[in-house]
Each structure stands twice: as C-alpha cells, then as structure tokens.
Symmetry: C2
Subunit: 712 residues, 2 copies
C-alpha cells in the first residue's frame, strides 16, 4: 500500500469525522432530536427547556466539549456506576501507554528506521508515491547496532505497561471495595441460586429447600423462591402486551378507523370489541398457564435468600451436599439483571447449549475468513483487474484506485464486523448464563478473541484457515513467521485505525443508526406514546475495540511507530466522546462493579507476550541473535507478573472477602431500615412472568399494564 | 529376547520366591525374630507367648496364609485404618481388571496372534529358542479382519475398567464419609493453619490473630497457637537426646568402661561425669534458644482452632482479608502428622524450595537414564562381547548368557529404582508440605510419574532424553512411534514383572533388609533397650509399583496377552502378603482417610488413554485405518468420564461438605466429653521443640526424657 493510499483513507475519514461532529453540534440543540442525542437527560427530566427557536441553535458549537471534559470521576461514579469508570480508565490507560510509547517511537525509533538503507532510500520529494515500509523496522540494516535502540524500547515499554497494569488493578480493586462499602443493601448480596435440588418422593422442591436450609443454616436462612419453567407464559404475555398496546392505540384514534370490513362484502366489525375479546382470551390463557407452571416443579432450582451477606457467602463457597452434584450454588444476579429465559433450563440442556455455542463460534471464525480474503483481494489492485477486466478503465483513475486500496478494504471489514457483536451476544445468551451482565461479559470476551484472531492474525497470515492453524501447531516457528508477516501489514492497520477508530467513534457521537431510525419513524408518522427508552452502552462492542487498538499499538510501536499518532487521535476522540455519551445518552442497566477490568488486563498481557514473540522473530531475522535471546526473559517475567496479579487482585473480582462482608453486615445491624429491606427481599426474586395480570381492568383507563415487559 | 531367557528369569525368580516363603514360614515362628516379623503384634503385647522350643517350630507352615485370607474389610478398617483398605482395594481392582482382560487375552487374542503369519511361523517343537514376538499382535497379518477382535477387546476392557473405576470411587467416597461420621472428634477437624498474618506496629502476631478472629468470628473462634522458628532448638534437642541415650547406656554398663584415658599418658576421666556436664550445658542452651524462639515472631503463622468443624471449614473456604495475600488459610494436619521443620519457613523460602525441587526432579530424570541405557546394553549380548572381548568365553555358556539377558537387566534397574523413593521423599519434604501424609502423597505421585517416564517410555524409546522429549513435542506422531516401540518390549516387561513384582513382594514378606539389620545388630551385641519401633507401610513405594503394573497390564493386554498370567500371579501374591503384613508388621502412623485413591484413579485413566494411543498407532500400522479412526472416540469418552468423576467424587477428597460437618457438629452438641476435648484442643498444636525439657531431673532414674523425639 502506498503512502498516497493511506493519505486518501485518512482524508476521507477525517472529512467524515468533521461532518459527524458538525452534525452533532447542530442537531443536539434541536429539541426534536433530544430523544436521540440526550435520551438520558430527557428521561431524567432535565432537558425539557429551550424549545424557543433562535439562530444560535443552527450554528455548530463546542459547549458540550468543555462539559464532557470537566466531568470528574466521582460524578461519573455516582451517575453511571463503576462500570463506566472502569471503561473510561481503559481508554486513559491506553492513552498513557501510547503517549509514552509515542514519544519513544516518534522521537527515537522513527529517525533510526528512516536512516536505514535496507529498502529503497527514501526520496522525501517523492514521498507521496513511495511505500510506508521505509519508515518501519524493515528498513534498518541487518546486524546494525542501531537495533539495540529498538531492543531497549521494548524493555522500557514493557516495564512501563506492567507498572501501569499493577497500578490500575490495584486502583480498581480498591474502588470495587469502596463501592461495596458505600452501596445500600442489595438483594443479590443476600441471595444465592441453588440448582439440582433433590426432591424425595411425596415432597416438593419448596419443602426440600425449606427443610434443608432450616436444618443446616437455621440462623441465617431467610426465604426462598422456587423457579418455574415459564417460557410458554412469557411468549403468551408478549402477545398480550402487543395486543394491549394496539388496543390502547386504537382507543386514541379517530372513531372511523375503529371499524373494519370483514370479507369482500361483509359487515363492519367493531375492532375495539374484536381485540378486547381476543385480549380476554389471551388473559385467561395466561392465567391458566401460570397456574400450570406453578404446579409443575420440573426445574429443581430456587433463589435462596439469607439474613446476612456473610451467611449467603458461606453457603455459596462450601459444597453443601454429600452428593456434589446436588445443591449446586451460584451467586445470584441483581433481580433486574436476571436473564429469565434460560434460568430454569435443565443441566443437560445447558450442557448441550454450551457445546453448541463452542461449535458455532468455531464455525463463525471459519466462515468469517471469506470476507477477510475478499478484503485482502481488494487491496491488491492488479489482481482485481485480472478478475474484472471491464473495470480497468475506472481503476486507472488514480483517486478511484486510492479509494479502493486505501479506504474500501477496511470499510468492508468494518461492515462485516458489525454483525459479529450481535451474533456473539446471541451465542452467549443461549450458553446458560443467568444474568444479562454475565452474557455481556462473555460476549465481550468472545468478540475480543474473535477480533484478535480474525483481524490481526488473519490479516498477518492471509491464507487459508488451515495454514493459520498449522502455524500455531508448530510453536517454535511462530516468532519467525510473525516477524515476516506482521511488519508488512503496518499500512493496512493504519487505515484500519482510521476507519474503525476515528469514524466509528464520531459516528457513535452522531448516533447515526438511532438518528436514521428516529427520522424514519417520524416520517411514517407512527407516533407511539411510549416513554423514552434510555439505552445502555454496549460494552461487548466497545471494550473489544479499545483493547484491540491497544494490541495494535503495543505490537506495532517498535515495528512501525507511524501508527501511534493515529491511535492517539483515536483515543482522544474516544475519551471525550464517551464521557459526553455517559452524560447525555447512556444509563447503566446493571452494575458488575468493575468485573470487566480483568478482561482488559488479560488482553494487555497477551499483547505484551505477542509483542515479545514478534521481537524475538525480528531480531533473529535482522541477524542480532544476542538481542533475540535477551528478549526471552521478558515474556517469562511478564507471565510471572500476571500470575502475581491473578493471586493478588483477581479474587476480589470473583467474590468479596469475609472481612468486608462481615463489616458490612455489622454496619447493617444498627440500621433501622434493614428489617424493611429483608421484607422486600422475600419477594425480590419473583419471576415477572408469574405476576398477576389485569389487562381487562386497565383497558378503560389509559394506565399501562401492571406487568413490566422488561423480563419478557 | 528369546523365550529361553524369559524362562530363565522366571525360574530364578520363582526359586527366590520359594526360598523367601520358606524362610518366612520358619523364621516367623522363632521368638527371637518376632521383632522383625511381627513388630506390631509384639508392640500390642499379643505375641509374647510360646518361647518353649518344639520341633514344629522348625518346619515351614502355611497357617499365616489362612489367617491373612480370612481378614475381613471391617477388621482391617478398625485395625489399620481407611488408607490400608484403600491400598488393598487398589490390588483387588487390578486383580478384577486383569482377570477379565486375562480371559479375553489368553482365550481369544493369543490364539488369534499365534495364527498369524506376519513373522516366522511358530515351530512349537523349537519354541524354547524362538522369540516371543510370534505371540504378540505383531504376528497378525496386516489388514487382516482378525484385528477387529483386538478392536472389540479394547472397547470391552475400556468399558469394564471405567465401570469399575466409577464403582470404586463411589465406594471409597462413601467409606470416607462413613469414616468421618464414625470417628471421634479430632483436633485437625477443628483447626486451620493461617499464614501471612499482618502485624501492625507495636502489636504482635498473637494479638493480631486474637483480635481478627474475635472480631470477625466471635461465635466460633476458640484459640490459637503461634508458630515459632525452631530449627535451631530442634537440632539442639536432637543432640541432647543422643547424649542422654548414651548416658543411660553407660549407666547400665559395667563400671570399668565408664573411664577413659585422656591424651597419651593422661589421667582417667569419669565419663559419666563428663557427659553429665555436657548435657547440662546443652540443656541450658536449649532453654535459652527456646525463650529466644518464643520472643522472636518472624513466622507470621498460627494454628487457629474453632469450636465447631463447620466454623473451621467456613474460615478455610472463604478468603478472609481484603488483601488476598494476607490471612492465607490451609487445612491443619493432625497434631502428630505435622511436619515441623518446614512449617515455619517463610513464603519466599517455600517458593524457592518448590522451584529447586522442580529442577531437582528434572535433573534426576535426566541422570537416571544412564543406568537405563546400561541396562538396555546388557540385554544385547553381542554388544557386550564387542565392549569386553575377554568375557567372550564366559558369555558363550548358554546359562550365563540367559542370566545376563533375562535376569540381570531388570535386577540392575530394580536396584537403581530402590534409591528413587527415598530421594523423592526427601524432595517432597523440602517442598514446603506441612504434614508427613502430604509429603508421602506427593512423593507417591513423583515416584509414579518417574516410574512411568523412566521405565515405560525410556524402555520403549531407548534413546537419548532429547529424542524422547522430541517425540512428545510432536504430538501427531506419538501413536505411530508408540505402536512401533511398545510391542517390541513385551519380553523385557515380562521379566520386569517377574523380578520387580514377584521377588520384591516375597522379599517384602521375608523383610530381607530389616532381617539383615536385626542380624547385624545382634552380632555386634549392642543390645539397645529401646521399645520396639513399629514401622508404617511406605505407600510412596508400594502404590506406584502396583499402579505401574496396572499400566503395563492395560497397555499390553491386547499387544502381548502373555504378560497377563505373570501379572495375575504377582497380584495374588501381593494380595495375600500385604494382608499378612498389615496384621503382623505395619501400624498406621497417620490417616488420610483414602486420599491416595485419586492418584490411583488418575493413573488408570492415563493408562487407558495411553492404551488407546497405542491402539490407534497399531491399527494404522496394520493397515486398518477404519479401526484406528473408530478408536478415537474412546479416549475422548474416557476423558469425559474422568471429568465427570472429578466433579462427582473429587470434592470429597479435598474437603467435607457442609451437610456432613454440620450433622457431626450437632451430634457433638449432645456429647458430654466435648468440653473436655475442646480444653485439650487449645494445647494440641504446641511445637514439641518448645516443650520444657528435664534431662537433669531424669538422669538418675531410668525414665526416658519427657520430650518425645517424634517431632525432631
């Protein structure tokens, strides 16, 4: 790829970014777009003012920038929770790392690279049509003493990153504990999920639970809620909710629309009456299925609540039954975080689902390589001319060729990647996780490893999947292969950063998709008077993106330091834009209290070890065997450091220590509201599908149904 | 190796076995040998009678056989503990497996092998000088349909073994629980070991422990014992004990020996007086060091006791402190099982010891190959003649050559292996384990894997260590290499079974080494009037041997079924002899309540998977690719079965479930002796090196010192 192609891509994407920024600055001030650009503020009722028209509204302004900049971490913690803080710290972590690496890379490594003569000497006058390779480590002469500068840079950056990783892990751990101490009592702290409850003949699950826990944990046991299989009821309630909304909608419309001809020359039918009857039928059906579900006890699972956090924690940590496959305990999620559909599924079904998901992930990885290969083909212009000879005349235009080689490949890859995140969420959701947050965490990991494998390795070793797998089956040759393949792809990854990083982030600010949705619904004039739905940030999409850029920066900083400025621009954009979005757009749906950080930590450690492997290969290739030998201790030390961090910090992210739980319990003993909380706790984990429904009673009034649709 | 050589080896070893059996039958009836052959009975006082001489005493008899045969499992459980029962069940497990495999192997596979024509047709008249290969699977024609019989045998035996493994794991788990229920309260059930206790300035470890547990576990906490660094005191006490014994010995001797000349023409010195003074000095020194040790608090570790088993268990299972590297908990061993020397060592020291042990194990494995190579050289007679030409005339004698090729190799290997077990115990003891039983368990694992690697793989792939390692670095080629190498070694392993199995087991009965020790001490007339020391069975030596024979049988049953009768004879011998030894010789020193079984289970699973790998290789080699493909599911299913067993049974062997603990605690509540037990518990974990010593007071009386030498 030539420098000109890269510049074209940068140009197009910069233009797009500017357009998005201007669009946002103008549209966000129009009250009709508040729903798109500030749903959170709207929902909180703090953005209703200012519907009066004035000229200022049409001019782009940058007030939001300073507002986003000034937001402190404490404000963020209180408004968006610890997860948002952790997310922002991932961005600042990368910012710190790449500022440090950027100084070393641009000021020291880049001049060294340019001074080499291995490739064509750089003609600065002709820079525009030359290749980027002259700026990379490939240009340094083999056996040159200058390579020791790269060697030192690898050591310096590794030490800096490890120090930062330790600092961050420590900081977030302490935040997590502080968050726990400051939080009010929450049902999931007092509750565990028990599965595989054995039931003796003539007894039922509820009695079993009651007798087991009153016998063995009489002092701490509080109550339990048996789980029912409610998938049928859930789908019925969904139908009923739809019908109910339609009915409400009909009532508010002019009366002539309430009648409809039946048949070709039939009489008019009162639609209100018709739907009303159908709703009645549905309602009766729901009640029937609900009582059926309450009688059938085929799930053998229950939420069990305790009087103290420590009580719940001991039962969770100790094997309860003589038979280790009975009375299996799991930590309960928060009541509104529970993912009901798969909660009640049997052990066998969850086991099979898990197997299916593994196979599906492998299939997806294999099939995804097809678009990647196409993308790789597109960057090769002469290949394209051979395939499509009729395009020759168009491809000869220099701008078109630059767009095709510089911008199109990463755009296409981008579009395909858009589909991956929802697929991964779907796969995680059928894997048997019991909460939305766990599904999102699992999807986040899946998307991350998918991205690393299918973008990084597939681009580096562009070839068949079997070729890639064969490389990893022969671990001794990995560094050599990486050293050849990775530096050659520097220019592709620069365009990738620009397309996927810059444009995606600014389009996130301009909320392109919600904007389009908003405009189409407006045009079709189907005003639904539902409340504004405040979205939550899709961590499973955004965290892997940042971590993948972290991997790119860490692996490329000493190979092709030119990539770092592009990454820094991206990170600055992401920093300011996501702070703004947390203020205006996203509200937290659940709180994992920082459980996403270990994913980031592991990803960084992987990036470091990968970088070391590439360094070993590069120094061998450049005939500096001493340097490649001296790199070997670095991955070993990095992995030992990781092992230490796992021992030191990871336990916090799995369960709270006894000391913390007992202290918090003691505090609560003096709290007068505690008994009230325990009363509420008893009913906190009732399946929404089993709550009584009262559509008929509500149908005349315009009140919404009592049943919430969140859990369905 | 020719059949004649094997028969020579069998002949020599059978003769040795008969000699040992006769020797035992006669000597065991002589009262002067009771100390060797029935120390346990002697110590229990039930074998003092019958010192009157009669002729019957000189005739070999088989009364002990029926006595050993009649011993029931319940009797064994009550007299030798659950560990002995588990050990015997390992033997019966192998017996069951090889009876089943033997029927299939001898009745079905052997005729099939013999009917093949791949190798030289067997001339039954000339059997004596032919090779054993004609009886192995190597003789079956390539591509023959008869190989499907071997295929079915592999499936049948795998299913049978897995069924038995499940049954045994289940049985031993239930025995373990039953043992726990029936046992009296034991200190280690109520106690945990806490390490890395943080100490604030101006406080000490004891206060730290007291305040932490009274704050967070006020209802269950009972007491604690801080650990001191006592290695210096221990060595001093050891010296003092030696001196004390010498003094006691002197007192009982005739008076002229009590004086000794000092210098060339010096005056006589009263030795009693001389030693007495030195003992006084030592005693004062011990007291000084004891008080020093009590003041220095550099271990930051303590045994913490609780009022209930469940209380101790919750503290053990939950992370206690906010800092996960503080207040680390471990299960406490029984007081007399504690291994004091390394208990108080620091975290860093234990970590380094662990590293050193790993390196030492690798070194041992590498160095051990030297005798193995020599052994392999000895089996090759012509090679020997080239090396030592002067031996030619002797080697030409047919009997000598048969002894050298048939018997000598496994004998030499055997002698070298004798040294491995003590080395492994030593390595385990410096690895930082806190109890004798854990050291023995770890040594058992080490010896097992050492045996498998250095006997099985080193014999199969006789070559340099690098060649062996290179095979395992290329996992795809393992089955093919195994299929070529393993069947060729069948005859060597038959002689190995005969030498290591038959002769070792009967020499165990005849207690050759203790017998020699007994005779030498008797000759030197140094009668020491110490009490009889009852030995405990060295599980770390005996369990790996049985498991290794299990591996041999499982891998060879379809390759060379001729090995099975030899194994069955060995197992029958082991069955009856070890039962006899448990009655007469060995007394349990500690009780792990069956924790050795998971080692046996894992070893069997490994043997099965290894057998499957060999089968895959063999069927590929014999040009039956369909069969080798159809074997593939078998290791997968075996590993899944193992995974299930790990989930289902392994938790029992790590910790007792809450249900069991609470039930047992409830039973104790009604027990009047419980408060007395708790009083004793407070002082149960005092370091024997810190107990007061009173040699001077005892010196005139012939009482033994108050301090026990067990812990030093």
């Amino acid at each position: 790829m030539l420098v000109s192609a890269i510049l074209t891509s940068v140009g197009i994407n910069s233009a797009l970014c500017v357009i998005f920024l201007v669009l946002y600055s103008i549209l966000k001030k129009q009250p009709s777009y508040y729903e798109v650009f500030a749903p959170r503020l709207l929902a909180e009722g703090s953005s209703k003012q200012g519907s009066r028209f004035n000229l200022e509204r049409l001019l782009p302004s940058a007030g939001w920038l300073s507002k986003a900049w000034k937001l402190s971490e404490e404000e963020m913690l209180s408004s968006s929770g610890l997860d948002a803080v952790v997310y922002m710290r991932m961005i600042t972590f990368c910012l710190k790392v790449f500022s440090f690496a950027g100084i070393i890379g641009i000021l020291i490594l880049l001049p060294v690279n340019c001074s080499g003569t291995e490739l064509d000497q750089i003609d600065f006058a002709d820079l525009y049509t030359s290749s980027l390779d002259a700026f990379t480590i490939s240009n340094v002469n083999s056996g040159s003493k200058l390579l020791w500068i790269h060697f030192s840079a690898v050591y310096a950056v590794t030490i800096f990153i490890c120090y930062l990783l330790y600092y961050e892990y420590n900081y977030i751990s302490s935040k997590r504990i502080a968050y726990f101490y400051s939080a009010k009592p929450q049902p999931h702290q007092f509750t565990i999920l028990v599965r595989n409850i054995p039931v003796s003949v003539g007894s039922n699950v509820s009695d079993s639970v009651e007798s087991f826990f009153t016998e063995y944990h009489p002092t701490t046991y509080l109550s339990h809620t048996v789980l029912r299989r409610t998938s049928k009821v859930q789908s019925l309630i969904k139908d009923a909710n739809k019908l109910y909304k339609r009915l409400l909608h009909l009532q508010s419309e002019p009366s002539e629309q309430k009648y409809k001809r039946v048949g070709l020359c039939g009489h008019k039918v009162d639609l209100l009456d018709h739907y009303g009857k159908r709703l009645d039928d549905l309602e009766q059906n729901v009640r029937l299925k609900q009582s059926e579900a309450l009688l059938a006890e085929d799930t053998h699972a229950a939420f069990v609540s305790f009087k103290s956090r420590y009580g719940a924690s001991t039962v969770f940590h100790l094997q309860q039954s003589i038979n280790p496959t009975h009375w299996l305990t799991e930590e309960a999620p928060a009541p509104d975080d529970v993912y009901w559909p798969f909660l009640s599924s049997s052990f066998m079904r969850r086991w099979i689902s898990k197997l299916v998901v593994v196979v599906a992930c492998i299939l997806l990885t294999v099939l995804f390589l097809i678009p990647v290969v196409v993308v790789q083909g597109l960057t090769n212009l002469s290949q394209l001319e051979v395939w499509f000879p009729f395009l020759k005349s168009i491809l000869d235009i220099s701008f078109v060729s630059q767009v095709i080689t510089g911008y199109l490949p990463s755009l296409i890859l981008q579009l395909f990647l858009k589909a991956v995140a929802p697929i991964m969420v779907f796969l995680s959701s059928i894997q048997g996780y019991i909460s939305h947050s766990m599904i999102e965490k699992s999807a986040c990991k899946k998307v991350l490893w998918f991205t690393i494998w299918n973008i990084f390795f597939a681009t580096a070793f562009s070839g068949s999947i079997f070729y890639q797998v064969s490389i990893f089956l022969d671990p001794k040759k990995i560094p050599a292969k990486l050293a050849v393949a990775v530096p050659a792809q520097a220019s592709f990854f620069i365009t990738y950063v620009v397309t996927s990083g810059w444009t995606s982030t600014t389009s996130e600010l301009a909320r392109i998709f919600p904007l389009i949705c908003h405009l189409t619904t407006k045009c079709c004039a189907k005003s639904t008077d539902e409340g504004i739905e405040v979205p939550s940030i899709p961590y499973h999409k955004d965290i892997p993106r940042i971590l993948f850029f972290g991997l790119l920066g860490i692996t490329y900083f000493f190979l092709a330091p030119v990539i770092l400025p592009f990454l820094l621009v991206y990170l600055c954009l992401a920093y300011i834009i996501f702070r703004n979005q947390f203020i205006n757009v996203y509200a937290p749906k659940y709180e994992t209290a920082g459980k996403f950080w270990p994913i980031a930590h592991n990803s960084m450690i992987f990036s470091l070890v990968l970088m070391h492997a590439i360094a070993v290969g590069i120094f061998t290739l450049k005939k500096l065997p001493l340097a490649s030998t001296l790199i070997i201790p670095l991955p070993v030390l990095t992995l030992l450091f990781n092992e230490y961090c796992r021992k030191r910090f990871l336990p916090f992210f799995i369960a709270y220590p006894a000391e913390v739980l007992i202290k918090k319990d003691m505090e609560d003993q003096n709290d007068a509201t505690m008994s009230e909380f325990l009363d509420r706790l008893v009913t906190a984990y009732r399946d929404p599908a089993l709550m009584p429904i009262q559509y008929s009673a509500d149908i005349d009034s315009l009140n919404r149904p009592l049943i919430s649709s969140a859990g369905v």
